[in-house]
């Protein structure tokens, strides 16, 4: 559960309404792979990840980024029950994908940076603070079923 005030919820949903999920998803995942190259360990089958331009232009990265951010988007519609919403995905990331939950925190913070880059002035400290709560909540929910 994320503890957002009514004002914070408003900040989150009104900004998200303007987000191009496909574009931002690809951007965020791409930047994760560039800034923290060890995260590439999960994507051996994605082809050329040898340079920032190769990563950012990689079709599989873009497609997967869209998938990930669409799931995140789904979470935003259920902020009062993130653990329930992400229960199945949590099991998947633990049992099948074997992803260290630290990666969820890394991706969440990269997403915040991408939103700042896209929205500039609109991404005020208050809006950022609300989003930090959301990404932390999502990361927590995704780690919840780990065993």
């Amino acid at each position: 559960m994320v503890n957002l005030s009514a004002e914070e919820k408003d900040h989150v949903t009104s900004l998200w309404g303007k987000v191009d999920v496909e574009k931002v998803g690809g951007e965020a995942l791409g930047r994760l792979l560039v800034v923290y190259p060890w995260t590439q360990r999960f994507f051996d089958s994605f082809g050329d990840l040898s340079s920032p331009s190769a990563v950012m232009g990689n079709a599989k990265v873009k497609a997967h980024g869209k998938k990930v951010l669409s799931a995140f988007s789904e979470g935003l519609a259920h902020l009062e029950n993130l653990k329930g919403t992400f229960a199945k995905l949590s099991e998947l990331h633990c049992d099948k994908l074997h992803v260290d939950p630290q990666n969820f925190t890394l991706l969440g913070n990269v997403l915040v940076v991408v939103l700042a880059e896209h929205f500039g002035k609109e991404f005020t400290p208050q809006v950022q603070a609300a989003y930090q709560k959301v990404v932390a909540g999502v990361a927590n929910a995704l780690a919840h079923k780990y065993h």
């Binding site: 560039v34 700042a116 500039g120 002035k121 991404f123 400290p125």
Partner: protein, 142 residues
């Protein structure tokens, strides 16, 4: 994880572009940190942390000077930051996790103000630079 020649070039170029405005961005980064990560406020009970506070601006200026010092001494960060490391280890004793939070908010601030410049490569180099600064700052802790 050493800073490559490319990392140094990108960081130096950005700092040149920031010019005399570094303090504005470090102040905004502090403001963002205090708002998004309230635990960081515990180190400043003696300061007025409200938005626009002159004390936060002064603190921002100190951080700016330290980072500029770091950029000017990329070849020897531990040496250049030795005195600051002593200060943070002996007197201030800030948990190093908090430095990471400020580092993140500085990246957010720069992305917000310089979207055209904030390429993935620059983000990577800046992130590396900041983690080196943090490492140097925490080097005397124990």
């Amino acid at each position: 994880m050493a800073l490559s020649a490319a990392d140094r070039a990108l960081v130096r170029a950005l700092w040149k572009k920031l010019g005399g405005n570094v303090g504005i961005y470090t102040t905004e980064a502090l403001e963002r940190t205090f708002l998004a990560f309230p635990s960081t406020k515990t180190y400043f009970p003696h300061l007025d942390l409200s938005p626009g506070s002159a004390q936060v601006k002064a603190l921002g200026q100190k951080v700016a000077e330290a980072l500029t010092l770091a950029v000017d001494h990329l070849d020897d960060l531990p040496g250049a930051l030795s005195a600051l490391s002593d200060l943070h280890a002996r007197k201030l004793r800030v948990d190093p996790a908090s430095f990471k939070l400020l580092g993140h908010c500085l990246l957010v601030t720069l992305a917000r103000h310089y979207p055209g410049d904030f390429s993935p490569a620059l983000q990577a180099s800046l992130d590396k630079f900041l983690s080196h600064v943090i490492s140097a700052l925490a080097s005397k802790y124990r």
